[in-house]
Structure formats: C-alpha cells, structure tokens
C-alpha cells in the first residue's frame, strides 16, 4: 500500500509542476496555453536522450528545463501579441508540431518505437528507498516552485501580470508594454513543464510520442479549473482532486463489490465526467476559488 501511495504522490507531484506552470500562464496572466504538453514533451525527450547517452542526470534535468524554455521563445516571438483565443490555437498547433517532430525524427528519438530503459534518477539501494527519494525530489521541486510562485504573486511583477490578465488595454494606457511580461511568463511556465517532463521520463522509464497528446494538457486544465484558477492553493487542490478521482475510483470496487470488474473502468470515466460537470455548475470558481474578485 505504501509503495502505491508513493507512486501516486510522485505522479501527483509531476502533474503539480505542470499545473503550476499553467496556473502562472493562465491563472495569473490570462495566457490561454493549449499546448502545455509540447513543453512537457521537449523536457521528457531532452532528459531521456541525454541520460541514455551517458550525460549525468542532474545535467540532463537542467538541460530539459532550459531547452523547454528555449522552445517557448520563438513561439512567444511570433504569437505573444495575438489575442488570447488565437494564442490558444497557435499553442495547440505548437504541441502537435512537437509531437510530429518527435515521431518523425527517428534517428534522434527512435520515432514511434519510443525510448525504453531511461535510467532512474536514484539507482542505488532497495526499490522502496529509491521510490521515496524520487518522491522527495519531486516534492522538493514542487516546494521550490510554490515558494517562487508566492514571491511572484506578491512582487510588482506579479501585480503587473495580474493587471494584464484583468485589463490589457488599461496596462497599455499606463505606458507598460504587456508583451515583454507575457513572454517572461511563457518562458517560466515552459521551464516548469520541461522539468516536469524530465522527471516523468525518468520515473516512467519509457516514453513514446503517443504519451504526449493534447489530452495531457486538458487534464492539467481540468485540475486547475476544479481547484480554482489563479490560486496556488487551488492548483494544489485541483491536482489532488484529479488524482483522487483517477486513482481513488480504483478502490471504489472494494466498497461496491457488486460492480463487475469490466464495468468499473467505464464507471470511473463516468464519475470523473460527472464531477467536472457538477464543479462547473456549483463551483465555477473552483474549490479554492477567489470569491472576492471577478
């Protein structure tokens, strides 16, 4: 049981990093990024390729974060001035382009066969100890990211990006150019996604292009919407709720043994869908939503 909880915790931590990045972009700045998985994918492949070629893992993790950030830069240059819905389309397109490049450039990424045997971050000691260390590392990254977010929210930079979210025209009329701030936010969020992707690759041990479909982006969106957009506590709560629904429903059968195994899988998806609908009807601000604004 413990090892399973550790596994859930690790995956939740990886999702939390992704969600924190998206929360910074959408929740605080109002950038509708539908291509978050693209940066996740860049990070995962960077670290996987480098570490299987013998690069030490701390370096490959750093490279993953930096490369994901660099991948966001040209995207930002061409699209950051677009209106929010167009930006959403461009980012969605970007994530599909990344997936297609990874699929097609077989010499580098092993194409559709994927990369197997990605080394784990902690290789010494018993399996249990490794798992705990991995969980610890993931949570440490999350903790640092959360602290950084809190600093950002309280800083002048944070007030500026929230102002951009609330009224871009007003910001402009005060003599500030939103594009530069948006670019910084895009780069920061992508860096978190890249780091999260690298952790994912080393944790799962096998990556292939079909793991980086837009559905991953929308799972993260689901999490921040359920938790409460724009709030750090909401992001954490949303990821926990998502994991609770995805994984907790596995245990539903232990309380309801009359449900046949085969129906269970369909019921799980149904329960998640129902929860999402109920959230949008009764708690549109999300669980931790801010009721004082908007």
């Amino acid at each position: 049981m413990d090892a399973y909880l550790i596994a859930i915790g690790t995956i939740a931590g990886i999702y939390l990093l992704l969600a924190l990045g998206l929360n910074l972009q959408f929740g605080l700045t109002g950038l509708i990024n539908f291509g978050h998985v693209g940066f996740f994918c860049v990070g995962a492949y960077t670290s996987a390729i480098l570490s299987t070629k013998g690069v030490p893992i701390p370096l490959s993790l750093a490279a993953a974060a930096v490369l994901a950030m660099l991948a966001a830069w040209p995207l930002g240059i061409i699209s950051i001035r677009l209106r929010e819905d167009y930006f959403a389309i461009v980012t969605l397109g970007f994530s599909e382009v990344v997936r297609l490049i990874v699929t097609s450039e077989g010499w580098l990424t092993n194409g559709v066969q994927g990369i197997a045997g990605i080394p784990r971050i902690f290789r010494d000691g018993a399996g249990e100890a490794q798992a705990v260390l991995m969980l610890g590392l993931t949570l440490a990254f999350c903790f640092i990211a959360i602290l950084a977010m809190m600093r950002i929210v309280r800083s002048p930079f944070g007030r500026m990006i929230e102002a951009i979210r609330d009224n871009e025209e007003a910001v402009r009329s005060l003599g500030k150019e939103p594009a530069g701030f948006k670019m910084q936010v895009l780069l920061l969020g992508s860096m978190l996604a890249g780091l999260s992707g690298a952790l994912y690759a080393h944790y799962i041990g096998y990556i292939s292009p079909d793991q980086f479909i837009p559905f991953v982006t929308f799972q993260v969106w689901m999490a921040i919407i359920m938790g409460g957009v724009g709030r750090i506590s909401g992001t954490i709560a949303g990821v926990l709720i998502l994991m609770f629904f995805l994984e907790g429903s596995r245990f539903l059968r232990d309380f309801a043994p009359f449900i046949p195994e085969v129906s269970m899988a369909s019921i799980r998806l149904g329960v998640i869908g129902l929860a999402l609908i109920l959230f949008t009807i009764y708690r549109p601000q999300g669980l931790m939503g801010d009721f004082t604004k908007r």
């Binding site: 049981m1 090892a3 699929t103 066969q113 197997a116 709560a237 609770f244 596995r250 269970m264 931790m288």
Partner: protein, 407 residues
Amino acid sequence: MKLTRRQTLASLGLAAGAGLLPRLALSQDAGAFRIGALNPVTGAGGPYGTGMQKMILAAAEAVNAAGGAGGRMLEIFAEDTQTQPQAAVLAAKKLIDVNKVQAILGTWSSGVSLAVIPLTNEAGIPLFHCSGAPALSVPPANEKKLGYRFQATNDRFGRAFAEIAKKEGFKRPATMAFNNASGIGNTEGFTRAWTAMGGEVVASVVYEPAQPSYRAELQKILDAKPDVIVTGSYLADTTIILREWYQTGEETKWIIPAWAANPELVKALGPAVVEGIISVDSISNEGSPAFAAYDAAYQKAIGKSGLGNVYAAMAWDMVTVLALAMEAAGPGADASAINAKMRDVANPDGTKVSSFAEGKAALKNGKINYEGASSILDFDEFGDVTPDFAASFIRNGEIKREYQVKL
C-alpha cells in the same frame, strides 16, 4: 510568509482529506495465488479488453474448479490500462503493491507493455502480454526473461504478408503504414522478408493518424504503379484511404491486416469497393479442444463467437499456462520457480494437453505440452510464440478464409 485564515483552513482541509487515503484497507484471501488482469478495457484496445478480462476470469474459474494449481486457488484482480502507458503504470503499481499479485496478465498495446515491464521485472514477477513490438523480446525490457508474448511480433506479421504476396504472384508491391510502432513494424517486416526473397518494394509511405484525407500519400504510392499495396493500418484510416483509392479508378490489389479489413470496413464502404481485398490475421488454434473450451466460455460470457477476439483466446491461454507452470513447480513455489517451468509445460516433448484439468492429471506421469486456444503456444528463447496466419478474401461483401500460412 504569513498564513491567512482562509489559507489555514484550506490546508487543514487538504491534510484531513489526505489522511483518509490510507484507510482504504482491502480484504484479501490468504493463501490464494493472486493474479493481476491488466487489460485495455477503455481506449484504443477497448474492443478487445473486456473479452480478455472476462476470459482471464473464466479461465481462473476453470482452474479453481479443477482444484487449484500447486495447491492454491487463483484470485484475480482486474484493472484497466486505458490503453495508456501512464495509467497502466499506476494500475500496475497498485496491483503489485496493494494487491500483491504474483503475475500480471494481458497488457495489450506495445507502449503499455514497455512501460509496465520494468515494474514487473523489479518485482520479479512474470508479465504475459499480446504486444507486437520487437523491443519486448530483448534486454533491457526482457532482461530477466519474465516477459512472455502470446501474440505474433509485428515482424512475423510482415513475414506472413510477404508469403501471401508471393503466393498470389504479385511483383510490384508498395507499402502504406500508419505512423506508430505497430503500423511501421508490419510494413518494415514485410519489406525485410520481401527483399530477402529477392523482390523489390516500389514505393512506401508512412502517414499521420487522424487526417481527413490521405489523397497525397495515396497518389505518391499509385504513381509508382504497384500491383498490390500492403498496409499496416487501422479501421478509420483504411476506410478513408480505400474510398479515395476507389475514386481514382486505379486497378490494384490490397493486403490489409484483419484488425482493419473486418466486417465493419465492408459495412462502411459497401461490397463494391472492398471486392478482392486480402485480409490477414494471426489465427487462433481453431479446431483444437482448447479452442472449443475457450469458445464455449466466450459464448457464455459475451454471447458472441470467440473467433472475433483473438486476444481473448490469448488471455485464456495465459491463465491456463501459468496455472500449469504453478502445478509443475509444486506447492508454495515462488514466481521465479514458476517462471522456470513455463517452457516445460508449453513446449514440445511431452504429453499434449488442452486444458488445465487434463494437464494437471498428466503432470503426475511426466512432461506435458499445452496446445493452446490461441496457438500451439511454444515459446522460443525470447518468450515469443509463432501463431499461424490466414489469408481471407472479401468477395461479394463476405470475408472468406481461403488458406493458412505457416511461418
């Protein structure tokens, strides 16, 4: 950093919620041999996963009815992979850590099996799968020799395609592959086998999934004037490609895997378009007593003929072989002792048996050779099997099997 009242309440609430998680205690039978049925109930494998899971349950019931294996009853814990590696990894972790299963049976897509096999290797338990990717045969995936493949590799599928193309007298084949491991595996296997026979592939194209039209790819192939097009494709894309091909009016034949060239394809396009298409599938060990037993169980559980789901037949065999290996290893054997007996109960040189009960009795008098429902089930050194293949032709809207191909 200062906490506001709101934040304090929120974190307290979260902590209380998290505290509830470990209370989800489970009841488990002591002494039973626990098996994880990890099948693609939803997602791309959905059409097969339900049948596979039900057949694992049914086969386990048959084993238990015969008094259990190695003195132990089988207990099944079922999970859904959602045909997604990440969901499968969590499900496998749950099966291994919470349910303490001693074998995982029935992963389907290659991506899922490749993601799960490091976990089963680490736990030292066998993984039985029906995936096609060649990487699953060799290290690092199969370094501990705990992985067993009950399905033909994509490479073997390709070889079967080449045999059929040769038998039909085609001279100028071209290939079209769906861009994933299985699609490309099929056409690459074909190209390898075909060039080894001294033939030449006149054109080949790999296409992206989920396009509304494949006219550009198709035109590139047709420009090379092939006499047959071999595909590694799925139902949705095959439907579009064939419709567009029919509109061009070009004369060419098709060799298509049976998971794409099936009755639904005929229904979608009408008999005129699909006339003469050759549909290739690995076939279950039809006519064998094991297949009859499986078919009866499948009819009872699903209400359809077992012929329609080759993977369910594989799932049936997975439980039966595992139980026979347990019986051969004796009471209280651990996973590695059971693993060591796998080839002893499935491969030649031994009394041929076709069910667990029969095998259990025959094991008292020496070696046995289980002839399964899905194939004769002889594992090579990599844990792979070589099933037979069949070529079926679509004529007047009916898919009729014409001959078998043995590799």
